[in-house]
Symmetry: C2
């Protein structure tokens, strides 16, 4: 029996999309939902109360970063992630696979997730293209981006770390291939990822205490190839995971289609998480194609650079025209930032390099994305998903 | 009639100290009180709600910084400081005098306020000792630390800026001399400051609308010389200010005595603000000698470097021993940080250079100082000020 309970409340007619409720040991998540990223056990620039107030239902921390610092054993001693970071709601950790490979194998490929702005660590690209990760059948040896020290992740090690961290939902260890890798390499890596998936589940079930409190998601890979994606979905479906992640790279324009290939095969009754994706068009496309959960660092990363998202697209607050603009970031927005501050004030904070600028911008952008997913959810319940999608995306991408 | 109402509730027998209530257009302040500094219309790393929750009664912003950016006319257009920064409680601005001179005339003197860690701008010391401020009878010409552009403050200009910013309590424009200046220069500067005090009041009363909503404090200067301090107190007392500031430099060890010289002369019925002072021993000494208000950037500045204050003195969280210390910063402390986070978590945040570390540390240190002044106030009400002073300072400075 899973530690999760997932109930589908309504489906999107003729499509794979659905509205559900996912019950976790730390509370319910109304799905589809956007998962807020707190890479190093903190959502950058925000207090947990600010994270909660903006409507966040679930927070995802990164295994790779926490393993290196403060180290997972320390988080275990602290009583686990929830207690350590003072977040009482549902949590997830990723497997560390993506970070391990984005440090190494995928380096230099312009279409890698790093290039797409999806990865959260600013400081992890090696200086001269040298690969920092070496993969073999057993696992991956890699170097820390912090101090160059050597480390090794295996499926068993990733699960052990994630047990120590103690999030409600954790992920199987996978190989995240370069989007430019050949079909042959993708196939080889995929087979290995499938073997690692089984080993991850074995390691998870081998720890009775942890597996009685934490749910394990398997990860579907396969790059941009339909046959590999479908094969991966079939193999991973055959392993008794509590839910599924869809990882790796896609052709940006075909992401919806690729997600559909996978979700046509994955068992309907379990939750699905599209890893590292959060652009409005991808949220609509993912949900239409059966995704329940998304995470992405982009909303907070661009916020810290002064870029704010609105229904009419995004804008940079450092633009001179905002210096004396006393309107809120977005007219009608119900977030804390828009209810209490002007563009002029945010402009001042960014120009003065005051931390509170990052706080206010992050609150707005996270509210924007979290709330967009909530509105999409509501549109399915109200039978007007397609109208809402057309209207929203038409406005958001108007000038692009 | 003053826009302030100051009522003394109790006096410290045999001393100048008193407990009072200061009514301002934006609410009451129980005095003595520590004023929290929000230099650029934001208390660094904190939301106004966090500032309020830690017990802050009043916030002080800096005229010099806000004049340069975002500029005082913009704050006026925004509806004033309260609305601009979303702080509904009482506010103050300083006159800009201290910053103008700390950029110029006082540069290079090791005992200047900059050296004492009292000034809040990290970036304002000229590179090569060149004085950036030139004083004459009418005012001061200085260069911006931001872009080197030339500016001029006169008493009238300082008041105009402070009217535009719109704080409840504002200060007369004064010359802040170098602590190393000769007696002769100090005397010359003091006489000029007294003439500027009268001009400041004239400029204030000349704006009927502003002076019906804002209170003006005169500033007593005189450096470390008893006769000049007493002369200044007499002259400034003779001008119809709503309250008084005590500014400039002191011999650190004799600050209490010097404050006593001044407060023995200042009219008892008006509030007194000791500018830029916030060390525990100076808070006790100042209160004992009749000070009602203090402000200081030290609590938040040291917090951002990981230095936390406790009743047993201060400690730096970057020390290795805190990495796995799961106790709160201070056992028994009721602040948000200590109620919800461990030293280990703060240590992690500082090592990971996460902004939330500065937020949590600032909350703790401000709570520590704000609450210390509240406890001193209570000790006067409870007739045990001297016992509390001896006990507290004995513990705090035990190892120093």
């Amino acid at each position: 029996m899973s530690v999760l309970n997932f109930e589908i409340k309504k489906e999107l007619p003729g499509k794979l999309g659905r509205v559900g409720i996912l019950k976790t040991p730390h509370g319910e998540i109304e799905t589809p939902a956007f998962v807020v990223v707190g890479t190093k056990a903190t959502v950058k620039a925000l207090s947990p109360e600010q994270v909660k107030t903006l409507g966040t239902q679930v927070v995802l921390a990164n295994t790779y970063h926490l393993y290196l610092q403060p180290q997972d054993e320390l988080i275990k001693k602290a009583g686990g992630l929830h207690k350590f970071m003072n977040w009482s709601g549902p949590t997830m950790t990723d497997s560390g696979g993506f970070q391990v490979f984005s440090l190494g194998a995928a380096f230099g490929d312009s279409v890698s997730k790093i290039a797409l702005g999806i990865d959260d660590s600013n400081n992890q690209r090696p200086k001269n293209g040298e690969s920092l990760a070496k993969v073999d059948e057993e696992g991956v040896t890699f170097k820390s981006h912090l101090d160059g020290s050597s480390h090794r992740f295996t499926p068993e090690k990733s699960i052990e770390i994630q047990h120590n961290i103690g999030a409600d939902m954790i992920f199987a260890f996978d190989e995240c291939t370069s989007p430019k890798a050949s079909y042959e390499y993708q196939k080889e890596a995929l087979d290995r990822t499938h073997r690692w998936a089984k080993r991850s589940l074995d390691a998870h079930l081998g720890n009775k205490e942890a597996s009685s409190k934490q749910a394990l998601f398997g990860i579907v890979q396969g790059g941009r190839f339909q046959d590999l994606r479908e094969e991966s979905a079939r193999v991973i479906s055959g392993i008794d995971f509590d839910g599924f992640g869809i990882g790796g790279s896609f052709d940006k324009e075909d992401m919806d289609t690729a997600v559909g290939w996978v979700n046509n095969i994955l068992p309907k009754e379990k939750p699905r998480h599209l890893l590292g994706i959060g652009e409005p068009r991808d949220l609509f496309g993912g949900i239409e194609n059966g995704v329940d959960l998304f995470d992405c660092v982009a909303p907070t990363r661009i916020a810290r650079n002064g870029t704010l998202q609105t229904e009419n697209g995004s804008m940079n607050l450092l633009n001179a025209k905002f210096v004396s603009d006393f309107s809120p970031v977005e007219e009608g927005c119900q977030c804390y930032t828009c209810q209490n501050y002007t563009r002029a004030y945010l402009s001042h904070l960014f120009r003065a390099k005051e931390m509170f600028g990052s706080t206010l911008a992050s609150i707005h952008n996270l509210y924007f994305t979290v709330n967009l997913v909530k509105k999409i959810r509501q549109s399915i319940l109200d039978d007007n998903f397609f109208e809402f999608k057309e209207e929203f995306l038409g406005k958001y991408y108007k000038e692009k």
